[in-house]
């Protein structure tokens, strides 16, 4: 088992090294096969691991000591349990599909860059697997930063484009801000508990050792980490910009896997989070605010990937809402379903972009339904799933979160439903503008429109199927299911506390949210099936179109002042004050040198005069001393 689990992680690493080192040697075909093959191998091993966990329960394996000193010991251990094995499947599974998809999508790249792309992807899978497999927070942190790195590399994949580089840098730095929070939380744990292994930290005994302040601080800091990685207010702005990367990357990293790391981390640490009321509220509020904010922005975006990006942010907000209200399994459920349908949507968008020759503006699309039938169909399924229409997967997961939110506070529920409605609206706005109506692009584009190759459509189909049926793993008992997922996760997150709701309430809530969503989607389809949005006219429209001016706000309030501050330090403090003091000392010496040497004026008379004065001075010195001593002695 030790080997199997080890190789789950190692295969992508091997792929990374293989592609990275051989980028000038191998043909594109070899690269593609190997890259996909290694991830597939991981996937297969993950299934084995999963089955094993199902059969025997959680497994912890020890490899070596990462850090082992007399004060702190951080082993390099992996832990496969219900939670991580689920994540393993999602990561490697979706990963495999996206690798497959990429082989076709990226085929125009030159071989070295093609290899580079797959190397990054493999490295990403490797990091992500480290993140979920690690048996302590430090290993998780290694993966955590690793995925940040890969995200950076992939966003800036087309490195000659300066804008993309800025986006990549922004992503990395915002992630780093979050990582700092995570890091501080780890330190806090080490200071208080002396260990970071889940096995010891996440137990009741450890909890007893921590004061409420400790727990609140630790969980808040952890949450800061999650904010960065999972793009929550205020650290969300990198995610929409991250769409600069190739579309499969957006699908894999910025929709399906990496951004859910925060959810994974909080779910993993649920004991701590549940112990802090304050943190839970913070998480829930930040989550729902993000969900709504992103949804409002998504309504007015015209870039196909931007819409999906804000939709991701919004969905992540939902997940955090779920975490905040204690519906850990609900959040994980949503992670899984979201992985499927968002990956599907992104890949679909990729297929569209591919067909449109890298045109991403939906106003220039329209009527693609007939030209791209498979893409259209799968995309539609994705939209329905995300809109929360039963019986597609999104419905179940979203509903579970909403139900839990209601149990916590009806306000959360109301806001959640508004968000859901907006989700339905903007998704179908997107769908309608893109696929319905008439084609609005150029003649040439119209001429070249074609369905994508099989390597691209296959993942679409598979994901569409998954999006449609994935809800099955979590059909609530209410509907006669037995919520397999929830049972799966019970050893880790405990029993979800939603039992308070009566069945009739639940049915009512479900009905309300679904009907509102359906109404919203119908409005959207109706409005956008013939025409696209023009330039925004109203103030609100502009406001939303410009993303609440948050980027501008950050730029003016944080980035520019800090930049100015740095300039001030460099130009004024460093140059004039600190170095000035150093050089000033030299200047003083030189100045006094110029002056003092004038005493030596060449005149013997003066010299002797100075001597006489010197004698007088010495006498006075001595005289003074004598007198003073006499004064004190008497």
């Amino acid at each position: 088992m030790k080997l199997i689990i080890g190789f789950i992680v190692l295969w992508p690493l091997v792929g990374f090294l293989f592609n990275g080192l051989g980028r000038n040697i191998w043909s594109k075909k070899t690269i593609a096969y190997k890259a996909t093959g290694y991830v597939l191998a991981s996937f297969i091993l993950s299934i084995i691991a999963f089955v094993n966990v199902q059969a025997k329960g959680a497994i912890t394996v020890h490899y070596f000591d990462f850090i082992n000193t007399d004060t702190i010991k951080i082993p390099f251990d992996f832990k496969v349990d219900a939670l991580s094995s689920l994540f393993l499947l999602v990561i490697t599974g979706v990963g495999t599909l996206i690798h497959l998809y990429s082989t076709a999508y990226m085929k125009d790249e030159e071989a070295p860059h093609y290899a580079r792309y797959f190397a990054y992807l493999n490295l990403f899978i490797f990091s992500m697997l480290l993140l979920v497999l690690g048996d302590n927070y430090v290993i998780m942190f290694i993966g955590w930063e690793g995925v940040g790195l890969c995200s950076y590399l992939l966003i800036g994949y087309w490195f000659t484009n300066t804008t993309y580089n800025y986006a990549a840098k922004k992503a990395f730095i915002m992630n780093r801000i979050g990582d700092l929070g995570f890091l501080l939380a780890i330190f806090w744990l080490i200071v208080k508990l002396g260990t970071v292994s889940y096995g010891t930290v996440l137990t009741a005994e450890s909890l007893a050792k921590l004061s409420t302040t400790d727990i609140t601080a630790i969980t808040l800091l952890l949450f800061v980490g999650a904010m960065g990685k999972s793009a929550q207010i205020p650290l969300y702005t990198w995610l929409p910009d991250a769409m600069a990367g190739p579309t499969p990357v957006s699908a894999l990293i910025h929709a399906a896997t990496m951004v859910t790391a925060g959810i994974y981390m909080i779910t993993r640490s649920n004991i701590l989070f549940s112990a802090s009321e304050i943190t839970q509220h913070v998480v829930a509020i930040v989550g729902i605010s993000t969900a709504l904010l992103a949804a409002t922005i998504a309504i007015k975006q015209n870039d196909i990937k931007k819409v999906l990006a804000y939709s991701t942010v919004s969905q992540l907000g939902y997940m955090f809402l779920g975490l905040g209200v204690g519906a850990y399994s609900g959040a994980v459920f949503h992670v899984i379903t979201h992985a499927f349908f968002k990956a599907l949507l992104f890949l679909g968008a990729g297929s569209v972009i591919h067909a449109m020759h890298h045109e991403q503006d939906i106003r220039k699309m329209g009527g693609l339904k007939s030209k791209l039938p498979i893409t259209h169909f799968t995309f539609l399924i994705g939209c329905i799933a995300i809109a929360g229409v039963p019986p597609f997967s999104g419905f179940f997961s979203k509903d579970e979160i909403l139900a839990a939110a209601f149990a916590k506070s009806p306000i959360y529920w109301v806001l959640g439903v508004i968000g859901a409605a907006m989700t339905a609206f903007y998704m179908f706005r997107l769908y309608a503008t893109t696929f319905l109506g008439k084609f609005r692009g150029t003649e040439e584009q119209a001429h070249h429109l074609h369905e994508s190759p099989f390597a691209m459509t296959l993942p679409l189909i598979l994901l569409a199927v998954a999006s449609a049926i994935a809800g099955a793993i979590g059909i609530p008992e209410l509907m006669g299911g037995h919520h397999w997922l929830s049972h799966q996760l019970t050893p880790i997150v405990g029993v979800t506390k939603e039992a308070a709701l009566s069945h009739s309430t639940e049915w009512a809530l479900m009905g309300a949210s679904v009907s509102i969503a359906v109404i919203a989607l119908l409005i959207a389809v109706n409005r956008y099936k013939r025409q696209a949005d023009g330039e925004p006219q109203t103030a609100l429209g502009k406001f939303l179109y410009n993303k609440w001016y948050v980027d501008e706000l950050y730029n003016n309030v944080i980035v520019q002042p800090l930049n100015k501050f740095a300039g001030f330090l460099k130009e004024t403090i460093e140059k004039n004050i600190i170095d000035g003091a150093v050089n000033g000392t030299g200047k003083v010496v030189q100045y006094s040198a110029r002056k003092i040497r004038l005493i030596q004026n060449g005149q013997v008379g003066y010299y002797i005069l100075f001597m006489v004065l010197g004698i007088i001075l010495l006498f006075l010195c001595w005289f003074n001393d004598i007198t003073i001593h006499r004064f004190f002695n008497n």
Binding site: V589, R597, V604, I608, M611, G614, L618, D625
Partner: protein, 462 residues
């Protein structure tokens, strides 16, 4: 005693040599031979092989340190004469006379390392000084030399007056010229307060400060060192000054108690710090290397004055090492300087390219002066600081001392920079290999002492 007698005799011999022959080379070699004889004679007394002894009636007292310093100074003089022999010939046509004068000066040096009576101090100082006035003015046609000589003479005479007044006061207070005059109250074993004595000592202090060119009695130094024929300057700045320090210490080793230790720890640091200040700061802006070295010698004197701070074996060790390190390095630098066509720093430009070995040697000498490790100068400074700290000086004094040491690096390194880092052709006369080899001797001594300084003291203890 041997040294005094032999040096006098040698001086007389050299006078006769000057009448006997005009062959400067022969004169030079006789002089060098005489130096060897003198060194041998002194070593003979030091080791007790052979020494002329008669009752000096308390005028002189020979002790190990005095004799050792004699040896050191004689050897330094020998090295000086050996290196600069040809240059000395170029000053007028009195080679043998100069050697005679050197021997007379060395006689004065021997007296100053062994006097036990203020009369001998006075005579010693005069024997040391009067020939120096002459050496300074030896370049008769040179107005600078004339001027320096006259300045030196006038100020030197003035300081003699001060010295004599001091001695008179001391005599008035104690009734004796002897160094071990009764200064302690037999009853309390503490110094009695005697203003006349203190005033006398202070005046003595002043005139000794004058001799070792400590501020504010240093004014003659830059002008004289600058104006004197370049070949004589290092001798004045090293051997003569070192003898002055030995005499200074001899006088105040015991006598300072009469001033009161408190007074001593106020006026001495005052003098030391002003010396360091004036020497170092003024040296910074000199365009002439010769003048810069004159100021630097003031600064070095400031450091040597530390040896007066306390009295322990540390001080003697420190002073001995300092004398050797400073003297050899100064002689070395001047040996290079004298080959320069003019003494501006610019004339050193690019020396490293034309004469790499010479530049290296110069650098080494300057490093030693600056007190950079691996050279004897470092340990000289180290021992000195260690000594004063052991003697109870405050940290602040040490800190100030090293601040000035850092300033000194500034001007010494200007020469190094000119030699190594500035492009240009050095204004230098052709240097022969043999000349370089002589300088290597100095360099090796400095380097060896820079690693094993205790070689200097083994004699004192073993």
């Amino acid at each position: 005693m041997n040294a005094i007698i032999v040096s006098t005799l040698l001086g007389v011999i050299m006078m006769f040599v000057s009448w006997g022959t005009n062959n400067t080379k022969l004169q030079r070699n006789i002089g060098l031979l005489g130096m060897l004889v003198l060194i041998f004679a002194n070593i003979a007394q030091m080791n007790g092989w052979l020494s002329v002894n008669f009752d000096t009636k308390g005028m002189l007292a020979f002790n190990a340190i005095g004799l050792y310093v004699n040896t050191i100074l004689f050897v330094i003089t020998f090295i000086y004469l050996w290196i600069n022999g040809e240059e000395i010939d170029k000053i007028g046509s009195h080679t043998a006379d100069y050697y005679a004068i050197f021997f007379f000066i060395l006689c004065g040096v021997s007296i100053l390392t062994s006097f036990d009576n203020l009369l001998m101090l006075f005579i010693g100082i005069e024997i040391l000084s009067i020939p120096l006035y002459i050496l300074t003015g030896a370049d008769k046609k040179n107005l600078f030399s004339n001027e320096a000589s006259l300045k030196y003479f006038l100020m030197g005479s003035f300081s003699t007056g001060i010295l004599l007044l001091g001695i008179a006061f001391i005599y008035g207070a104690t009734g004796s010229f002897h160094l071990n005059m009764p200064i302690l109250n037999p009853a309390t074993n503490m110094p009695t307060e005697h203003f006349l004595l203190s005033a006398g000592l202070l005046l003595l202090f002043v005139s000794m400060n004058f001799k070792v060119s400590a501020a504010p009695f240093h004014f003659w130094t830059p002008d004289v060192y600058d104006g004197a024929p370049t070949v004589f300057t290092p001798f004045m700045a090293t051997v003569v000054k070192a003898a002055g320090f030995v005499a200074f210490i001899k006088v105040f080793e015991i006598q300072r108690i009469a001033l009161g230790q408190n007074t001593w720890t106020i006026i001495l640091p005052f003098v030391i710090l002003s010396t360091l200040l004036v020497g170092n700061i003024t040296a910074v802006f000199q365009r002439s290397v010769k003048r810069m070295l004159a100021y630097s010698s003031i600064a070095q004197a400031g450091f040597m004055l530390f040896a007066l701070y306390g009295n322990s074996t540390f001080n003697n060790e420190a002073l001995i090492l300092y004398i050797v390190a400073y003297s050899l390095a100064t002689i070395g630098v001047f040996a290079v300087l004298i080959k320069m066509k003019d003494y501006s720093i610019e004339s050193f430009n690019g020396l490293a390219k034309q004469y790499p070995a010479l530049a290296f040697l110069t650098t080494l000498f300057l490093f030693s002066l600056a007190g950079i490790p691996l050279t004897a100068g470092f340990f000289a400074k180290y021992y000195m600081l260690n000594a004063i700290f052991t003697a109870g000086a405050g940290i602040w004094l040490l800190v100030l001392a090293i601040l000035f040491a850092a300033v000194s690096v500034y001007y010494y390194f200007k020469v190094v920079q000119a030699m190594y880092f500035v492009e240009g052709t050095p204004a230098i006369q052709p240097i022969e290999k043999s000349y370089e080899r002589k300088l290597w001797v100095i360099a090796i001594i400095l380097l060896v002492l820079g690693v094993f300084p205790s070689l200097m003291f083994n004699y004192l203890y073993f």
